[in-house]
Amino acid sequence: MRTGIIYHPKYLEHEQSPSHPERRERLAYTMDQLMEEGIFDLENILLIEPEMADIDDILSVHEESYVRFLERESRTGGIIDFDTSIPVGVFELALLAAGGAIRAGKEVAEGQVDNAFAMVRPPGHHAKPHTGAGFCYFNNIAIMVRHLQKMGIERVAILDWDAHHGDGTQEIFYEDDSVLFISTHQIPLYPGTGYPDEIGKGRGEGYTVNIPVPPGTSDEEYLYIFDSVIEPVLREFQPEFIAVSAGQDNHFTDPITGLALTARGYGMLMQKARVLAEELCGGRIVAVLEGGYSVEQALPYTNLAIICGLAGLDLSNIREPENYIGELRWRKRSYAMQKVRDNVMDVKKIHSKYWDCFKDL
């Protein structure tokens, strides 16, 4: 088995401002960790340097007027929303991020690697057809999915476990039955969407599945959601390809969310997803990096955990250093499991209309 890591040194160049949460440190520290672990010396890891996406690929998801707006503003600098500015030169860097996701999808689809992690910046899942938002400019994962469909892969499942709801991705595929969008995310939190009754529309009705979780949700709850909702729906959908919007901001040290997932939890989620992909679609799975803002304490380990989960590496030593454990105790909430069970029950009820696996409730 071989895992591709898609990375470009230019991913370190994007910066809205030095103090913005979505900043260079996110990947700089991760690369430190990966280099120190000797990840790139492993025989089953292949480091791949991507190129910029073609405008045609971007236009398969985004409206031309927005793409032109971003291109123009990127020359002088501009603004999209209160936490998404347009720094000079971001257009090319956003193209490179989308290109990274496309490259990951292509490498896996064509069999050069079995699975891949697109370790890209800027992230993408809040970007909608007509605008960027929430640190995102182009919707990398959606652009990859459309590219895969052009290559002849029809049914794709997107699993979005970023702490924030992937509202951009949801909007793009809301009326599409060829793409299943499953998202689990914290509520209440930006962008404020992602309630279980958002289920898709028209042909896409039932192909959007939202499972909100409360602050304090930890490993056990996430694994429970995977087993009780994600896995059965994916089995029934029978995807030809699985794409994961891998946000690492569920970690208990993340400063802008309130969840309590650990690095090991991330590794286990990714491992489960990879094993399921092996069973359902010849192992074709790509993780695309979204958020994750605990740049010092979590990102280096959680990204490592994602890679271990994909590459089938031993997870037993993916753990938290002793001095961080105190924080986990503060973050974890004992009532989270009960709330998650209730939410899962609601989701199953709502979706029993569309999915046989929830019929017998």
């Binding site: 440190e25 690095a263 590496l313 030593n317």
Partner: protein, 498 residues
């Protein structure tokens, strides 16, 4: 005056290099380094000279005694991949920022020392190059039980990549004691001297003893640099016919071709050294009906008690040493057949390289290389002093240092470890820009080189090998900057020799 010494597999070569002359000498290894230094001291005042030593001790130890020397590998990997196959995993962790985020348990270290039987200790902590504190604390405990010269710490290896650093530290631990002994012997004659590295550069002994694997493959490196110096040929294949092996090293644009992350006894390491191809036959290879790939004694013609390749050359008509003794032992027909076989072997190896010119070095080059070149369809040069080109290479090389600088302006620290003998930590100003980080590291590399006696003309050429910097933000506020800088004073020919 520069004195270059190369302790090879069978002989020790010495070169005296002064403004307008080169003198070379050859001694059998059996004499021992102290005796050889004594003899040299009679010929010249070493205290007034620059002394550079190349030694194949590491290679010899690695090839013959590697498994006999038992290393206790102590690891502090913290969270991450599983390193249990690399040694004993103990508690304690430094993160990527250089913060100790998990303390060591001293009793764990005591216990592992008490329970195991070993000759040397290798201590490797993840991210120790960002903060060596855990390795130092472990060292303090271990040295109560083990001689310091048998303990190696991974941060002295200098480079990022933990598994490779563990392997390199294990290799270091196996050769450390012998390098220390050799160093002590040499220091009886001269307090400060340089060791010659496998990449053709030289380092102060104090730095070499902390990361002795850098001396790996230094003999072929010395030969290559010597051959270049003696011929001025920038592109050629050096064929060094030694006592036990014949080594091929390629010169490209005046530099020997290098291998990064050399694999030593199946372990990938941080060692960067000359790329050489070694054929296990040389002048001292035993003849017992056919040539054997090992040495039993010196040639008969030099007082040995079994015939060797050198004796075969005498039987075939040359007159090397006491040639009658050779001819009495081996007949011409046998000799010619085996010489032919040897020449074929080397010619075949030389044909693997694209280089059109062969440079012959080693004592037997003038007898064998013309025929080797002819069969390989190459031209050849045999320069003066070819028999001790290795020692000449040692003498003409300049200092080469790699310095790994880590700046963290939020913490107000600059760490220069890598190959240094102490961990420098100093305050730097809050808002340094990228150029400042680079020039500070270059400045520090030059300072260290000069401190150890390098000529200022030799340290002008400092290359930036790696640079990365980014802002550190805590609580939404920019608090400082982190920068990693790796610079190298490049190996090459010293100004004294030009």
């Amino acid at each position: 005056m520069i004195v270059g010494i190369d302790v090879g597999g069978t002989n020790t070569d010495v070169a005296f290099l002064s403004e307008n002359s080169i003198k070379t000498f050859k001694f059998p290894n059996e004499m021992g380094i102290s005796k050889i230094l004594e003899i040299i001291s009679e010929k010249t005042d070493i205290s007034e000279s620059k002394l550079v030593v190349s030694t194949s001790l590491p290679i010899n130890t690695i090839s013959s005694r590697f498994d006999q020397i038992k290393t206790l590998s102590i690891l502090f990997p913290g969270p991450g991949l599983d390193y249990s196959s690399f040694g004993h995993v103990l508690k304690g962790y430094v993160n990527h920022r250089g913060d100790v985020v998990e303390n060591i348990d001293e009793s764990e270290i005591e216990k592992i020392i008490a329970e195991n039987d070993f000759d040397a200790v290798a201590v490797s902590g993840k991210f120790s190059i960002r903060n060596p504190e855990i390795e130092h604390r472990a060292f303090e405990i271990i040295k109560k039980h083990v001689d310091e010269s048998a303990i190696c710490l991974s941060h002295h290896v200098g480079s990022i990549n933990y598994p490779l650093r563990i392997n390199t530290t294990i290799v270091n631990s196996k050769i450390s004691r012998e390098i220390w002994d050799l160093t002590e012997n040499i220091r009886q004659f001269k307090k400060n001297f340089f060791y010659y590295k496998g990449d053709g550069g030289i380092v102060p002994w104090r730095i070499a003893v902390r990361n002795p694997s850098e001396l790996y493959n230094s003999s072929p490196a010395a030969v290559a640099l010597g051959a270049y110096y003696l011929t001025g040929m920038k592109n050629a294949l050096v064929v060094d016919i030694g006592g036990t092996t014949t080594d091929l090293v390629e010169l490209k644009d005046g530099e020997p071709v290098m291998v990064e992350n050399a694999i030593i006894r199946g372990m990938k390491t941080h060692v960067r050294c000359v790329k050489s191809h070694s054929v296990p036959f040389g002048g001292d290879s035993l003849f017992d009906g056919e040539l054997k790939p090992y040495r039993v004694s010196s040639p008969l013609s030099f007082g040995g008690d079994a015939p060797t390749l050198t004796d075969l050359l005498n039987s075939a008509g040359f007159e090397i040493g006491n040639y009658e003794r050779s001819r009495n032992s081996v007949g011409r027909e046998d000799a010619e057949r085996e010489i032919d076989r040897y020449i074929d072997m080397i010619a075949e190896a030389a044909e693997m390289y694209k280089q059109k010119i062969l440079i012959g070095t080693g004592y037997l080059a003038k007898y064998l290389l013309p025929e080797i070149a002819e069969r390989a369809g190459r031209r050849y040069i045999i320069p003066p002093h070819h028999e001790s080109a290795n020692a000449v290479g040692v003498a003409v090389s300049k200092i080469s240092l790699t310095v790994y600088g880590r700046f963290d302006t939020e913490k107000g620290v600059a760490i220069f470890n890598g190959e240094l003998d102490t961990e420098y930590v100093e305050k730097i100003s809050g808002s340094a820009d990228d150029d400042e980080f680079i020039s500070l590291t270059i400045e520090r590399a030059r300072e260290i080189a000069e401190k150890y006696g390098a000529d200022s003309r030799d340290i002008g050429d400092v290359g930036v090998v790696y640079f990365n910097s980014f802002s550190v933000v805590r609580g939404g506020i920019k608090r400082g900057k982190i920068a990693d800088v790796v610079v190298q004073i490049k190996p090459g020919i010293s100004c004294d020799a030009v």
